[in-house]
Subunit: 255 residues, 2 copies
């Protein structure tokens, strides 16, 4: 039994937060992220991997859009994981993931991740339990490998309520600017809501060496602020420094 | 003999342009790009490849930073080409380039490109002329392949003066926030300025099926405006449309 019980965790966030204040604070944090990213990118010693998980319409895309506007795309990348291709299926489940992890100096966002390779097979039952159990271990080992190389991993579960999801999925059927987001399959997945919650709780329990952050996601401004703050704090903790000048020549040109 | 003579083209841009006006217009254009990118990304039928070439310190990085702030990194990528790795050298020169071209829905910026594989070998003389000549042909064929798939290619040469480059390279030796940009090799390349100009003129002549844009790059605000405008215009020309709703189900949920 996992320690995190999603049903017991609020999806809206603190009642006493003021929207205008939080939005202003978020803007400030995003500017700080931009400043730190410059040093991260110039010094090329560390990297950041931000993992976003959550049910359909939990707001993963919006998180990326809102936090990474203003961030230089030269050293920021988004990797979105969909249903594996035939080639990807012909490899171990971490093969395609490993190829797109951040290099030194980069911030990479995983929009969904290797955790989908536990979620879907467990709920759909198409991989047996022993293999699933081994995947948990492989994921822990893999994340440790990345951290040992200097990658800070931030894991976020965007916690949306079932009611709020219904609102959002319905909106996609009625707003012409959101038609492209509609996917019949999302409604089928919604039918298995409780199963997904159970697997998520198991994941939080078994893959907690790098802890999970449960982000209240029913209100976008709460969600964006919460994720941005985690990213900013991670960058601060890195104690980044501008590189020194490396040259043996041109001393005549240094004023 | 090429038709474009770089020595005859101004590096500062129109004298009568007003900086404040142009910057305001640039901001407007960037917002338009952001709006078009949403449709491009939702409809996933076309893509854009923006190629940035120019001497060291011509302002390629700054162009990316300034234009793509505010652009959703989910469907925007930057590919920077440095000296090829051993693995890359073991393939044809377009192998590594082909791997990172935009997929449908994406805007990709090439910070340097396959044109470096003509520039450096020609100036340094380490590949014979016949092979260089064939590379011109291969590049034209390759770009046609991408356009036939639905990729709009925008080619920009950031035209900086030799004096302005000296200012900028010297700044990198004296400003602690720019030390990381310093590279001894840039000063060696500078010694071969005229050779590079000659090859560039040859490129503009031989690879003009998709025309080159010579961007005045001594003043950053002129440069950013000019490139942003090309990108915006390309997006307008695509006549992008929001996708229709695709579903056979859920008619009961459509209001």
């Amino acid at each position: 039994m996992g320690k995190i019980k999603l049903g017991a965790i609020d999806t809206r966030g603190p009642k006493n937060w003021d929207k205008a204040e939080i939005k202003a604070e978020t803007q400030k944090i995003i500017e700080e992220i931009t400043a730190y990213q410059k040093i991260l990118s110039a010094s090329k010693k560390r990297s950041v991997l931000l993992i976003l998980q959550g049910m359909d319409a939990a707001g993963k895309d919006g998180t990326v859009r809102n936090i990474f506007k203003g961030i230089n795309p030269t050293s920021c990348r988004v990797a979105a994981f969909k249903k594996p291709t035939e080639l990807e299926f012909s490899h171990d489940f971490l093969w395609r993931v490993h190829q797109v992890v951040p290099k030194n100096g980069e911030i990479v966002v995983f929009n969904r991740s290797h955790y989908e390779d536990i979620l879907v097979p467990t709920v759909e039952g198409y991989i047996n339990n022993d293999i699933i159990e081994k995947r948990y271990t492989h994921i822990n080992d893999f994340e440790e490998l990345l951290e040992d190389h200097g990658t800070t991993i931030i894991k976020c579960y965007l916690h949306v309520s079932k009611d709020e999801q219904l609102e959002r999925l319905s909106e996609r059927l009625n707003n012409p600017y959101k038609f492209w987001k509609h996917n019949d399959g999302d409604w089928d997945t919604r039918e298995k809501w409780d199963d997904y919650m159970a697997v998520y709780e198991n994941i939080f329990d078994k893959c907690d060496k790098i802890p999970w952050n449960i982000i209240p996601a029913d209100r976008n401004w709460v969600k964006v602020y919460s994720v941005a703050k985690l990213l900013r704090d991670a960058l601060v903790d890195m104690n980044l420094e501008w590189p020194k000048l490396e040259t043996e020549r041109f001393t005549d040109k240094i004023i």
